[in-house]
Amino acid sequence: MDLFLQYMANGVVIGSTYVLVAVGLTLIFGILGVVNFAHGEFYMIGGYAGIVAITVLKLPVLPAIAFVLLVAAVVGIAAEAILHKPMKNHDATSSIISSFGLAVALQNAALVVMGPQPQRLNLDVSKIPVLSSLPTDFGPVFLPQQRLLIPIATVLLIAILYVVLRYTWTGRGLRAMAQHATVARLCGVRVERVAIVTFITGAALAGTAGMLMSSVFFVYPIVGNMIALKAFTVVILGGMGNVAGAAVAGLLLGITESLTSAYISNAMRDVVGFVFVILVLLFRPQGLFGKAVERS
């Protein structure tokens, strides 16, 4: 029983990263209709940016986070310019191919710049003010601060996102676009800006996830492949474009994987999610939480 709770906790930590990556992915799809196969690379870049900021530039934690966000913003803007702006008059397959091409290019750029060996961020939590004072034992569950930070940050970021979407002009513009792009445009929503903001948001969420995880797991050039697939799994389970669905599905996937590797076999951990997603796509393409729609 005690171990079970520990596995659950581990699942929540992993699941939180999936949520961060998946929410950006689902936003970009929901608002812009772009299926971003390069989203895992946002995560990878966030991880490397964190490592560079802390171990190479020797920045303290907060400026390091600012650095990661800055890098993410640049990546987001560039990705929008490549994947969204020029693709308006192209068919859907072209945008699939181009984001896939971008993913391959970014992975190999990382390979050239950072090398193939996996790297990890050595974060000395004892030096970080608030974080070092957090507890690490919760009854039978032990969570070092680096891990604890991940669900906390996820909750914070999703809360901020929610407030922004709900109560700001930009947020309304985003939601209007998600409802109906043409009408939104007619109502004065500046589509170009919305597109850029959406990509930056997606890149920032995934980049933050990458940075946070880099102190727990290794970062390597193709780390994004697996993460992106997991995020797609989550997005599909949650219903394409559904942010709340992605949050629930992300946690579910994390927990399922953690329990699978604990009680069935570690080798099955990654396969489980994919098999599940193929089944969902076949039998409930609208996602676990979506409503059925027929298109004419």
Partner: protein
Amino acid sequence: MRVYLIALLAFAGLAVAPFGIGGYETNVLMMVLFFVILAVGLDLVTGYCGQFSFATGAFYGIGAYTAAIMTRDFNTTIWVHLPAGAIVAGLFGLLLGIPALRLKGHFLAIVTIAFQTIVYLVISQWTSFTGGQVGLPMPNAGPVTVFGVTLFEFGSLRSYYWLTLAMTALTLLISWRLVNSRLGREWVAIRDDETLASAVGLDTTRGKLTAFVAYAALAGVAGVLTAHSLRGVTPDDYTIWISATVVAMMVVGGRGTFIGPILGAVFLAILPELLGKFAEYKMLIYGVLLVLVVTLMPEGVVGRLRARAAR
């Protein structure tokens, strides 16, 4: 008829090529041929039938591992492996074709990526069956015997090259016949408008499944040939990057044209050889090229030239 004549001349040229070039170049040519088979195969399902697949590396690997595992367990030769690889990969193609019956566009693309990843996980982790990360060794292709009489051995590079060339010619001929048959026309109809295709009485289920099977079987054949040529298999030869490479070959050459993916495969497979010490950047270049071509010239080089000529 002119097409067959040109093809015949090209193959005659390729057949005498090993006499003029060294062993390294012959190996490069052989690899070009593997990619030609892969790219033409992908074009059947994606270019003609409009069904996306990022799983070429998986079917390629399934063909290769079929050869390696059969060699280990049954001590069979390439003559058994070629049909076996095509059949096993074709069956998996059928399996992947089933989601395609219900899914379109990005959903299908995601499923094929998941399939590619699962196959990679299986061949790299199921150590007792596939050799895991280390892979499996294979002896060379062995002798050709007819009624117990050995005609010749595929031990030499040259004879194996000729076998590869003959198989390439055969797969191209089959593909050419396919796309110019009634079935090929139905594939294009499904790509253009699936609803309309079934409204005019076409069985879209049959159309999509046959396209997937043909694609997967061709990749399986390429896999068998590759496994024998490399004298073994390792999982890292059959990753999603192979899928990406083949997509790039097809897209750069021109989706839905016959000659486009062939030229794309030749160009992109030889490119790293021309890059010298920059060859390690080849995947980076493929990625960038994919983005550029699909953005600026989505119909590919051959597609663009055709459109020019038609005007």
